[in-house]
Symmetry: C2
Subunit: 386 residues, 2 copies
Amino acid sequence: MLNFDFHNPTHIVFGKDRIADIAKLVPADAKVLILIGGASAEKTGTLAEVRQALGERSHATFSGIEPNPSFENAMQAVKQVRDGGFTFLLAVGGGSVIDATKFIAAAALFEGDPWDIVLSWGRKITKAVPFGTVLTLPATGSEMNNGGVITRRDIAAKRPFHSAKVFPQFSVLDPTKTYTLPMSQIANGVVDAFVHTIEQYLTYPANAPVQDRFAEGLLQTLVEVGPRLLSAPVPVYDDRASLMWTATLALNGLIGAGVPQDWATHMIGHELTALHNIDHARTLAIVLPSLMEERRVQKRDKLLQYGERVWGITTGTDDERITTAIEKTRAFFEQMGIPTRLKDYGLGAKDIDAVITQLEEHGMTQLSEHRDITPAVSRRILEAAL
Amino acid sequence: MLNFDFHNPTHIVFGKDRIADIAKLVPADAKVLILIGGASAEKTGTLAEVRQALGERSHATFSGIEPNPSFENAMQAVKQVRDGGFTFLLAVGGGSVIDATKFIAAAALFEGDPWDIVLSWGRKITKAVPFGTVLTLPATGSEMNNGGVITRRDIAAKRPFHSAKVFPQFSVLDPTKTYTLPMSQIANGVVDAFVHTIEQYLTYPANAPVQDRFAEGLLQTLVEVGPRLLSAPVPVYDDRASLMWTATLALNGLIGAGVPQDWATHMIGHELTALHNIDHARTLAIVLPSLMEERRVQKRDKLLQYGERVWGITTGTDDERITTAIEKTRAFFEQMGIPTRLKDYGLGAKDIDAVITQLEEHGMTQLSEHRDITPAVSRRILEAAL
C-alpha cells in the first residue's frame, strides 16, 4: 500500500425530501447565487424547492451552464458573483454545473488571470467562495470531491483542476431528483462511474486488498443495477439511490487512496469531447476497451482479478480470461446503450491525428500508472477503437 | 436504502514516516497536551517523534490512560487541560487513549457535571478542545469517528457517547507503529474490526448493495489478512497497513450509512467488560456467535448472503448454510487465538444474572435492528455462550 492522505469534509445529505435541509446548511446571513444548467431545474420544481429552503436569504440565479462547462461562460458568472457581492454559491445540477461552480468559486477570489487556475492544475487556488450542491444527475462524483474540468472553447482545451479549497461544504443527494432524467443520461452515469472506478483499480497489484474490494464492490453494483435501471418501466427508488451513492463513492478519493492510478482513458476521452463534443461517458466507453486490450501485459494481474471477481470468469487460460473480461466490459457498455467504436460517432482513422496533436499540446505524453502511454501508444489505442 | 447523513471531516495521514506531518497539522501557536496510556509510547520512541514534530510548541504529557478508560482518571486530565490552558490535545495510542481524549476534549469545556456528557449519550456536547491522534493500535476506529466509550468504575458502567464536535482533526496512521504490539492485541484488533463491520451489516436486506459490498470487502480482508498477521515471523508492512485501514473503515460511518444497524453484541459485551474486565474484542467474540444462533430467523437473508460472499458457502439447505456460517465465524475467532465461550474466561451460569441486571439498569432493554432483544433474549444469548 502506498502512503496517502484522505481528507474529505463534504457533508452528504442523502435521501428523499432532503432539499429542505438547505435551510440549516447555508449560513443564515449568506447572499446566495444559485447556479443551474438549462431549464430542467425550473421545470421539475427542484429550483422552487431550493428557493423555498433558502427562505429569507437574499438570492439570485445564474442559468445557462453548459455540458462540458466553458471558461468563457463561467467568467460571466464570476462577474456576477463579484459585482453582486455573493457570499455563497449553490450548484443545482449534475457534474457540469458543479464543476463550473468550483471554478467560479475559486476564480471569483482569484488575483490575476483565472485561466492560470487551470494551467496550474488548480495549485494556484488559495481561497474560494464557499458553496454547496444539489445533485440531479449521478455520474461524475464532483459532488463529493475537490476536482473539476473546464473547457476553453477558443482553443478546444478540456482541462482538469484540483484544490482542497473547492470541496463542496455539503451536497444534497435525493435519488428522486433523477426520475426526470432521460435514460441516456442514466446510462452515461453508470458508465462514467464504472470507468472512474476502473481508473483507480485496474493498474498493478499494490497489496491493498480493501481498496480492491471496495472498487470491485462498486463495479459489481453497477453491473447489477445498470441494466435494471434501463429496463425499469418506472423509476425504482433503491436502484436510483444505489447509482447515486455508487457514483459519488467512485470518485470521492476513497478507493484511490494508497493505490496507483491510471487516468489515461479520461485524458484521451477529454480530447474527443473537446474536438467532437461527444458526451464524456461515451468517450470513456470508446477508449477503455481498446486501452485494456493494448495494456494486457502491464495490467495482466489486475485484469485477471477483475475478470474473476467482477464477471465471475474462472475458466480458460489467462489470455482467454483476459479476452473475456474485455469483451464483457465492452458488451456491458453496449448493453447500456452506449456504442464503443469511433465509427459509431462518425469518426474514422482520419480523425486520430488531431487527437494526438491535442494530447501533445496539453502535455498528455506520459499517461498511465507507469507513465508510458506516449502519444504513439495513445494512437494505437484509438486505432483499435475505430 | 434509508436516508442518511455522512460527514466525516477527519484528515487521515496514512503511511510510513508520517508523524513528522504533525508539524503542519497542529496550529503553530497551540499549547499541546499529549495523552498516552502506559510506558510503551515512550519505550518505542513514538513519543519522542511526536515531541520532535511539535517543535517549538509548548507541550506537556498526561500519561496513564487505562484500557477501558475511566471517567475518574479522565477527569484528572480535564483538570490539567483547564489549569494549564491547553488549546490542543494529541492522543498517542489506541482506541482507549483516543476515546478518553474525546471525552476530555468535551469535558474540559463542559459547563455542569461532565458525567452528563455520557448520560446524554453525548448530545449535551456543544464544544470541545480540538485534537488529533497518532494511532498505535488498530482496532476500534475511534481515530476516524465521533464516538467514544467511557467507564465509570464506582458504578461499573461502560457507556458510549457521540458528538459531531469530537471528530479528530487529523489522525496519523503509521502501520509500522504496530510492529511492537503483542500478538494478542493484533488479534483483538482483527476481531474488533470484524464485529464492528458485522453490526452494521448483519441485519435485514435494505436494498443497499454498495454498503453490503463494502462491508463484505472489509470482512473478506480480515479473513484473508488475520491469520497471516498471526503467523508471520516478522511484521509484514502491507498486512499491517491493511489491518489498520480496515479497522478505520469498519467504524468511520461509511458502511453504516443508509442501512439498519444492530449494536446488541457491543452492548452486551460492554457489560462483560465492566463487570469482569475482559478485553473488549474478546467480549464480542463471546457474544456474536451465540447472538447469530439466537437470531437465525430475524437475520436469515443476511446470514445466507454473509455465508456465501464472505465464506464461500454455496451448498446445503438454507439452515445448513447458516449453521456453517456461524461455525466458520466462531472458528475464525478461535483461530485468531480468542476463545469464544464464557467458561474460557472463568464465567458460568451463575454470572449471567448480574449482566442482565446491568443491561436493565443501563436501559439496554430493546437492543438490535428490530429493538426486540429484550433482557430475556440477552439471557438466552449468554446461556448459549456458556
